[in-house]
């Protein structure tokens, strides 16, 4: 007599998997990677390669020899962390610093919490902030774009946000603007800054791809961008000499990369649509507060990490709309 497999329903599945989702995000990052390689050349290639390779290697070593679990270094998540970390570093940072950043991202950001799915903070951002605190000079030496063959001896300059921050100490926005890259350059990515965050167009293209593949929904990125636009817009209308316009804020710094790729990290962002909107609005507000009133020219990384910390709380209190009202039974 035949004996068949007996298991509870359902008996069919979508065929979606964690690696498929991760590689979907990775594919969406390729345009931004291509633009960065075009503008920062060999440096970007080295930083990306070192970051990705060491993220995967550290994930394997930690799982195999310290945690003694089955390594999952090829599921795409370590590759993605490495890629995102490389995207927020200067293309001329020494390679050993990149390795330290990858160790912080994977080791501190991910594995100490129990690996994929259990981390509270976005690993790539943990790596970035770790480097930012440890090597402040190297982390703020931004190469000028268009230096293909230079790695360690490139000409460096301040980012548009940095110029704005310094300039506003004694000049008006109108006086500073001519020294900054045009909006067209900001759109395509011909500007100083972290390697992968410079091209607004490439990042937006990646966002559209992820939305098309239903990897992310619009709720987090668009709420962040809208909040930043509205908040900076109010400031700008109140005093255009003191505050830059919303478009400048949207196109500069790590805002797009953060809103599209860091804040939408599944594990560290809220589960409900309502929760995502609260989270996005919070990140937008804190980003502007840090940029405009804080000590750093750039704020999105800290804003995201802060709200990563709020995610469990948001999940606890913001519930989806349940089907059916409560009914009282006698």
């Amino acid at each position: 007599m035949n004996k068949f497999i007996v298991s509870p329903s359902p008996h069919t599945y979508t065929g979606e998997s964690v690696p498929k989702l991760m590689y979907g995000v990775i594919i969406s990052l390729l345009p931004a990677l291509a633009v960065s390689v075009w503008f920062f050349g060999i440096g970007m290639i080295i930083v990306t390669f070192v970051s990705v390779a060491s993220s995967i290697l550290f994930e394997y070593l930690i799982q195999r020899y310290i945690l003694k679990v089955k390594p999952t270094h090829l599921d795409g998540s370590a590759l993605l962390t490495g890629l995102l970390l490389a995207f927020c570093l200067p293309a001329i940072i020494p390679f050993w610093m990149v390795m330290i950043g990858a160790l912080a991202a994977i080791g501190i950001g991910k594995m100490t919490f129990g690996g994929l799915g259990n981390n509270i903070f976005n690993p790539a951002l943990v790596g970035r902030v770790f480097l930012f605190i440890s090597f402040p000079v190297a982390m703020t030496s931004w190469p000028e774009p268009g230096q293909w063959m230079h790695y360690t001896d490139a000409v460096t300059g301040a980012t548009p946000l940095g110029l704005m921050k310094e300039g506003l100490a004694n000049r008006t926005v109108g006086e500073i603007m001519p020294e900054l890259p045009s909006f067209l350059h900001l759109l395509v990515g011909r500007t100083t800054g972290s390697a992968g965050e410079v091209s607004a167009l490439a990042l937006l293209l990646g966002m559209l791809y992820m939305m098309y593949r239903k990897i992310i929904s619009w709720h987090i990125p668009l709420t962040i961008l809208a909040t930043v636009a509205v908040f900076t817009g109010i400031l700008w209308l109140a005093n255009p000499d003191r505050f830059a316009d919303p478009l400048f804020h949207l196109l500069t710094g790590g805002l797009l990369l953060g809103a599209i790729y860091m804040a939408t990290d599944y594990v560290t962002s809220p589960m409900t649509r309502k929760g995502m909107i609260i989270y996005g609005a919070g990140i937008g507000i804190v980003t502007v507060l840090i940029r405009v009133f804080g000590a750093y020219p750039e704020g999105v990384q800290f804003a995201i990490l802060i709200f990563n910390g709020f995610t469990p709380l948001i999940n606890k209190f913001v519930k989806p709309l349940r089907f059916g009202k409560e009914v009282k039974h006698g």
Binding site: N2, H11, L116, S269, N315, F323
Partner: protein, 444 residues
Amino acid sequence: MSLRTFSRGGVHPPEHKLSAGNKIKELPPPEIVVIPVSQHLGAPAKVLVNRGEQVKVGQLIAESGGFVSTNIHSSVSGKVLKVDEFMDSSGYRKMAVQIQVEGDEWLETIDRSDDLVRNSVLPAEDIRKKILEAGIVGLGGATFPTHVKLMVPQGKTAEYLIINGVECEPYLTADHSLMLERSEELFSGIQLLMKGLGVEKAIIGIENNKPDAIEKMKKVVEGSRIRVQGLKVKYPQGGEKQLVQALLKREVPSGGLPIDVGVVVFNVGTALAVYEAVMKNRPLIDRVVTVTGKSLKKPSNFLVRIGTPVSVLVKEAGGLPEHTAKVINGGPMMGKAFSTLDIPVVKGSSGILLIDEQEARRKEVKPCIRCTKCLSVCPMGLEPYLLMNLSEKSLFERMEPEKVLDCIECGSCSYTCPSSRPLLDYIRLGKAEVGKIKRARKAV
């Protein structure tokens, strides 16, 4: 015009309606049938026959064992071989009557002609009585006794009758073929149900992937107070609460029934059984079953006597394909797997689905990455990932306020999970434990 559907969640599994358009084929009685006495929700029926006794087709062999219970009739004529426990689709051995088939002798009271009878003069009370006597249960798979549903509780009123012709499970086509081939009888059955229930309005909900059925039913009900409504294809639209919302924009309250918003829902197969019981004096002794699967030679819709072994159906559909690893009673989303073909077709068997080896095994369970897919597909607005976490840690008392009892077990969450997490398995466990906690609280 955008088509109606329910508002929250839902998935769209690939359809594979392999047997669609295949005419219903009536199978002759097999050599031996095994007729379980619990083919319905509620108490098992009480056996009335003894070993060695001769029975006829349509003869009562077990009578209703309580308020929520119903009658069981012999589907064949012949000799009672055994009254004993046999394995049924639950995988457990349960009381059943085994009959050796001899000839095909029917009770004389049953009208076996094909003549269409319409416009019953029977009062509502008699309609309900006939339905009770005929042992009719919900044929969509839930098998709730139909006569109980027709008794509207005090303080509530039925305004609408909804006929469920959605058939949202991939692969299944039994209801589809009924709507195409038995539409006139269905129309009559729906009118009987309206009368039995005392409602003026009825709606037949059919998903848009069955345009021929929509057209046919529209033509048949023309000029009556019955309306046919096409629906967007989305699973689990066949769920009562989802269907009521899709058709009437009314939300059945948490912990409530459709009657709480003035609606009673029946499956199309049930409406046909009601026609046959009331107009033809014919108890529920057979049903249409889809037999299907990608490797099966002849996916079919069979009219089968209750109690026929599943092995007979598979043989008729071209034999068991070589690499079959799973046999499912029902569709791939909500059906139950069983371990052998040696179990009988019962009133709730809507389909037999055979699944090949490569699809049958579950994938390795990976950690939850909180991708929110389970949450966005849940039609009840629950948080499957959270419910599974709580259940895994045995934090059952925290599952009740999270509305675990609202889960309709549609399986959309497990279906969609990229980490292959057995969400529904743990939610079912949680539902059972929360049920225990609630009962214990009542007992105190």
